[in-house]
Structure formats: C-alpha cells, structure tokens
Amino acid sequence: MALAPTTTAPATESSRPTARSRAPLLKPLTRQTLLYLALAVIIVVQFLPLIWALLTSLMTPQETTSIPATLWPAHPTLSSYIEALQGDIGRYYLNSIIASLVSTLVTMVLATLAAYAFARLRFRWKRLALLFVVSLSLFPPFSQVIPLYMMLQGVHLIGTLLALIIPYSVFGLPMAILMLMAFLQEVPFEYEEAAALDGMSRLGAFVRVVLPMIIPGLFTTAVIVFVGDWNEYLFALNYTTTATYTLPVGIVILSQTEFTTNFGVLSAAMVMSVVPLVALILLLERRIVSGLTAGGLKG
C-alpha cells in the first residue's frame, strides 16, 4: 500500500460540504507532527518504568537515596549489576531460567501433540475435549493453589524447582494448544495427502512434513509460553524457599525487606529480568502479535 488512506481522506471530505469533520482544517504536515507527537507520548508512557529502572541501576548508592531523587546518573557505574549477580539475585536468575526453560520445553512437546490431534484428526467429542481444555485455563489459580501445595508437599518437592516445573508445564498447555492449532490450520491439507500417497503414516507425515512447516509458529508459541512462565508469581511465591526463589519472587521479597538500602541492585535485577523479554519483543513483534491473538487467552 503506497498511499496511506489517512492522507487521501481529507481531500474526499472537503469536496463534500455535508460531511462534518475538522480534518481538512489541519494541513497534512500538522497531522504528521501530531501523529509523531502521539507516538512519542505513547513510547514514553509505556517505557517509563523501564527507563527509570535503567537509570537507577546505573546510579551510585548515594544517588539512589538522595532527596530529592537524582534523575540522571552523574557517574554511571555497573557496580549494581555486579553486586546483583554476585549476590542472591544471580541465583534467582538461574532458578528462573531453569524453571522457565524446562517447563516451556515440556509444554511445547505435549501441546504440539494435542494441537495436531485437534487441528487435523477426526474423532468424536472433539469439541467437548477442546472446551474442557479452554475452560480449565480460565479458572483462577487460587482454585488450585492449595491442593497443589499439598500434593507437592506430599512428595517432598516443595523447595525444589520441580515444584514450579510441574505446574508450569501443565498450566501453559491450553494457551499453547490454541496457538499451535491456529498455526497448524494454516498448513494446507494437501501436503499430508501427498505424504500419505508416498506411503508415510499419519504420525510420520506430522513429524516430517507438517512440523517443519510451522517452525516459526512453534518458536512464537514457545516464546509466549516462556514469557508466561518467566513472569509467574503466585505459584512461585507459595512453592519456593529461599534456595529456589525465582526472579520476580526474589525481587519483591528484597524490595519488601531491604527496600531503602538497595535501590540500585534492585533496579539492576529488574532490568536484567526484563531485558531478555524486551529483546525478544523487538525481534519478534509481528509474530508475537499474531500468536497472542490466536491463543487470545491469558495475560
């Protein structure tokens, strides 16, 4: 689309005196300026917390606790990052990475199998099964958190990372299945028919023909599932001990116990917890948007 419809609109409107619109009064240049002004405001508002954390993380301890607050680090230093990584934060980081990566992997394997069945195979009670999966994902985690704690406690997993990996792997499933189904439904059926003519089994065609075609979709889904696990808080808060705190839990607990002394370290931890996600978003913005809308479920 070479010509933006927004710039052609005023011309049409001005030729019709009956149309009430202020648009023709503004010159295209002013419109453009307003547009970018709005864009600037949106960017500042959306990124403000991250920018503030970034600035604070580069400040010296004196600067972070000065009154009134220092707005710009005069002597930028990375000492907060070093302190964070050498202290407990480093361990929380590792916990978050392990828990999120393993859970995402398990979720993806199980969800891919299920999504293929839902998207491609014919069987009875399919709708019911899918409704079951979807509706379960909408239940409040509070309806599950207590008995799950008892179950995990019963097998002595509380305080290990498995106490997070097990629930995360399961609770990521519905969203992942819906997203993968959307990607699978875009693959033309003819490919599987051709594979069948070549003597491949259904499963063989799925693994060797269909899966390679939805690799971008698999990747997108994995990213979204990963973000969900990385950001999870309620289960992590209930099922971890100091040794297995994840990043969000560690940061909140640090903030509630040592809030006044450690702004810089805290901010460094926050920046480090956000940066991988921001990088993924900037790289995969378009794919993530389409993936999220197909799944269209959870925050």
């Binding site: 503030w52 606790t65 299920a114 195979l121 808080y233 903030s255 809308t293 269209g296």
Partner: protein, 312 residues
C-alpha cells in the same frame, strides 16, 4: 484472519465409520492422552479438592483438618474483611476493565494507521505485557516512593511540590487505590490493544472505501462502521479481561500488599493471607470457592459467546 478462539470455531465433529477412521481416532486420543491426564490431575482434581477443603476447618497448612459442615460459609457472612475484599475486587474489575477497553482500543486504532515507525508503536504497545507484573509493581512502588521516587522528584523539580511536604502516594487509601487502577490499566492495555488490532486487520479496506464514497466523516466511520464491526472482538475481550481482573494478585501484592491497612486488599490477597499467614487452608479454600464461582459465571458467558459466533 485471527480472531480470539478462532481455532475453536473451526473444529468440526465427526464420527468414525470405517476401520481407517477408527485408527485415526485411536491416534488422536493417544496424542491427547498426556494433556488430558495432566489437566485432570493438576487442573481438575485441585479444583474439586479446594471445594472439599472449603468444608474443612482447623489444622495447620491443611494437615489435621476436621469436617466443618457449612461453618466456613457462615463465617463468610459475618467477615467484614471478606466483604471489603470482595467489594474491592469487583470495583477494581469494573474500573480497570473499562479503562483497559478504552485505552486499549484507542491504542489499537492508533497502531492500525499506516505510518513510518509503526513497528515502534506496536513494540511499545506490547511492552507492558512482557514485563513481569510483580517486578513491574516494584518499579512503580519505587517511582511513587514519597522520598526517593521519580514522580515526587519531578513535581519538585517543576516547582509543583514543596520538598518538605512530599505526597505520600501509597500511604493514603484513596491515592493508593487510584494508583492501582492506573497501574492495572497501564499493564493490561496491551492485551486489549492486541486483540482489537487483530480485529481491525480483519475489516476489509472496501468497507471503509464504501463508507467514504457515501460521504461519511472519519468520526462517523469510527462510530458507525469500525466499532460495530469490532463488536464480537470487543465482547470477547471484555469477558476475558473481566475474568483476569477478578483473579488479580501479583500486581497488588507487589505494589501495596493490600495496604495501607486493608484498603487495597482484594479476594486474591485475602486468600493468600489466610493460607500463608494463618495456615488456614479450610477458610482460604472457602474464599477461593467464592472467587471461582464468580469467575465461572464469566467463563460460561465466554463459552456461550464463542459458540454462538461459531454456529452463525
């Protein structure tokens, strides 16, 4: 075109006839088995167990409880803190979901225009979704800290605030509640914007073209064409956001932790207080059952909306 739950709508029922179809059906259930079993064990069983726990009392952290009959539910009736938490949950959902729908739709309409740097607008829209809710709340709490915070400092630099009398943002029930609303709207704009954006992209250009030929102004096109066509998407988004808002926990827990006093305590925080601080799994479960029941209303609504769209 991606609409919410689109995969669900494309699913067709069929019953197997020949041996080939029966083999296909067997394969399907084999592939579904792990997921179904996992969801039954870690999804359905806990929900039922929570229901059972709501009829238990005493004990500590779920051990050594005895049957309570309806005692927990009767206790709810006279529990002032429960009613205040319920009130907060409902009001919070009402205000923040309305705010999210308005701001999210506006953002989507903006990002749907064609201009250089549109990807930047979309990335900016996406950002609050990706930042961990709990971590983000800590940053906000720091920004609104009365002494070292960015906001007071900015106001002081602009000469709008006397440094000797800082605004104690999180110390006042009204201000803290207001900030939670702002934060919640800021945080979940993204999701509304994403879903609406997908809906917008599904409206063919010819529709706008036709409206313009008929002499409709931009404003008229928005109200008479765009928004009515978005209705199904908006409806589903509204329901999903409501479900999610009723379950809020991370955002408030890490921001005010229910304070000052219990001014910003919602149902989630109250459940957490019961189970973690008092180890009262019975009463905690009872409140969780209430929360689930409210959510269930909206889940049914969601399913009905989806199914009605699909039969059309």
């Amino acid at each position: 075109m991606a609409t919410i739950g689109a995969p669900l709508l494309q699913v067709k029922e069929s019953s197997p006839r020949g041996p080939l179809e029966r083999r296909e059906e067997r394969l399907a259930w084999l592939m579904l088995l792990p997921v179904i079993l996992a969801l039954l064990a870690l999804g359905v069983y806990p929900v039922l167990s929570t229901l059972w726990f709501s009829f238990q009392q005493g004990g500590s952290f779920g051990l050594g409880t005895t049957s309570a009959g309806l005692a927990n539910y009767l206790r709810l009736l006279h529990d002032e803190q429960f009613w205040s938490a319920l009130r907060f949950s409902l009001l919070y959902s009402l205000v923040t979901v309305c705010g999210q729908m308005l701001c999210g739709t506006a953002l989507a309409l903006f990002a749907n225009r064609r201009f250089r740097g549109r990807w930047l607008a979309r990335a900016a829209i996406l950002f609050p979704w990706a930042i961990p809710t709990a971590t983000n709340s800590v940053i906000w709490a720091y920004m609104f800290n009365d002494q070292y915070g960015l906001i007071n400092s900015l106001l002081e630099h602009l000469g709008l605030l006397n440094p000797a009398h800082p605004i104690v943002w999180l110390g006042s029930a009204q201000l803290a509640t207001l900030l939670i609303y702002v934060l919640a709207i800021w945080k979940a704009n993204s999701l509304v914007a994403l879903l609406v954006l997908a809906g917008l992209q599904g409206i063919p250009e010819e529709v706008y073209e036709a409206a313009r030929v008929d002499g409709a102004s931009r404003w008229q096109i928005l109200w008479r064409v765009t928004l009515p066509l978005l209705r199904p998407v908006l409806l589903v988004t509204l329901i999903l956001r409501t479900i999610e808002s009723l379950q809020a926990f991370d955002l408030i827990s890490a921001f005010t932790n229910g304070g000052p006093g219990n001014a910003t305590q919602n149902l989630g925080l109250y459940i957490y207080l019961q189970i973690q601080q008092f180890g009262d799994f019975g009463y905690g479960s009872t409140i969780a059952v209430v929360l689930t029941a409210i959510t269930l209303l909206f889940i049914v609504l969601y399913m009905r909306t989806l199914l009605r769209t699909s039969t059309r």
